[in-house]
Amino acid sequence: MTGLSPSVNDSSYALWKKVAYNWWVVTQNAGLVGVNEPSVNDTEQDLQRKTAYYTALINDYLHP
């Protein structure tokens, strides 16, 4: 499972969508189960909230 690369035409929302998705991919590669994937209905702030959640999970994973 690999992440998404940004493009020059990406909007702020598209970029946050890719950031959130990429960090969700990291959680899956780390074997963290039950982590909700970013949704197409997520607002930009939803994506930021999920990204903060994903990065917090990875942080705890790396600092058990």
Binding site: T51, A52, Y53, A56, I58, N59, D60
Partner: protein, 351 residues
């Protein structure tokens, strides 16, 4: 810094700030905990590497490598020398290096030898083995160099070839029902069994007759005695002296020789030798044959003369006198060739 989770009241700014904090902390975990991963092309690729590592990898760790799970290698696991801690495989405290390594046992994964470097000591355990330690080889024999120390009993060894001294060993025994052979060949040098404070005891079997000797001292050829007592002072071959059992020296088909040039042979009986019974020094019916003179410190008593009576004799010397007269009343009995003879006596007339 701990992980910062989002809350329902976080603004977009708050969330981005938490994301920044978390990613910074993640960066520390990934990069800062490992100061550097040194390598060249075709090794571990970091910071933008995109190709898989296919060659040897050298990792320089500033501190310990902690594996959260098992550490698995698919080929040889090599511990190389370091400046201060040369290739030591440590276990932590009561850790054990077992023979349950995958697939099973050290040998099966190709480790045929556990050895130390030249001029270094290989210590299998500085404490105590929890159970028996087995040194086994299907094709060779285990070898212990001089200086090897065993603080407990060694068992199950059927053959020992000594290259060095065996010191500090309190007991060498065989398995019950099995003979203990100290050497099936020839000792290269002197074989000494010594005790500074006690006795050397050789215990044989219970064979009663001396024709089945209990303890053999053999010599393949030559005429040198098999048992030589070589010490200062009185040396003795004796029975224990506490029972009625005697000491028999049996020459078999050969002679028994005692003494040498300048040597006195003492045969000690008790003080009553008149009967030839208990306590006497008795020669067999074969008699006594002396190449030299026989000197008695006391009298000589022969068997009873034919038809006469035996008595103790003491032989004197040749004497001369002009006052000799025939004793017409007394005589001396003497058995010559089985015939009793009578020797006349004289008297010395007192002037």
């Amino acid at each position: 810094m701990s992980a910062q989770y989002p809350s329902v009241n976080d603004t977009g700014y708050d969330l981005v700030k938490k994301i920044a904090n978390n990613t910074a902390d993640i960066d520390l975990a990934i990069v800062s905990d490992v100061n550097s991963v040194a390598g060249t092309a075709n090794q571990v690729l970091v910071n933008g590497g995109t190709a898989a590592a296919t060659g040897n990898v050298t990792v320089s760790l500033p501190t310990a490598l902690t594996a959260p799970g098992s550490l698995t290698v698919t080929t040889t696991f090599t511990l190389t020398a370091q400046a201060t801690d040369n290739g030591v495989l440590h276990t932590n405290g009561s850790g054990v290096v077992t023979s349950t390594l995958t697939p099973s046992g050290l040998t099966s994964i190709g480790v045929n030898t556990v050895s130390s470097a030249a001029a270094s000591t290989l210590i299998l355990a500085t404490g105590t083995f929890g159970t028996a330690v087995t040194f086994a080889s299907a094709t060779g024999v285990p070898t212990f160099a001089a200086g090897a120390v065993f603080t407990g009993a060694l068992s199950g060894i059927t053959n020992i070839t000594m290259a060095g001294a065996l010191t500090g060993c309190n007991s060498v025994t065989s398995v019950a029902g099995t003979a203990l052979t100290l050497g099936t060949g020839t000792f290269g040098g002197a074989f000494s069994m010594a005790s500074a404070t006690g006795f050397l005891t050789l215990t044989g079997n219970d064979a009663a007759a001396f024709t089945t000797p209990q303890i053999w001292i053999q010599r393949a050829s030559g005429n040198t005695a098999g048992l030589i007592l070589n010490a200062t002072g009185v040396q003795r071959v004796a029975s224990d002296g506490t029972t009625a059992s005697g000491l028999t020296i049996n020459g078999g088909g050969g002679n028994i020789t005692m003494g040498g040039t300048g040597t006195v042979v003492n045969i000690l009986g008790n003080t009553d030798a008149t009967t030839g019974g208990a306590g006497a020094v008795t020669l067999s019916a074969g008699g006594l044959y002396a190449l030299g003179k026989i000197i008695s410190g006391s009298s000589f008593t022969s068997g009873t003369p034919n038809g006469g009576t035996s008595g103790a004799w003491k032989f004197g010397i040749f004497k001369t006198s002009t006052l000799v007269a025939l004793d017409t009343a007394n005589w001396v009995e003497l058995d010559i060739g089985g015939t009793l003879r009578r020797l006349a006596l004289i008297t010395i007339t007192t002037p």
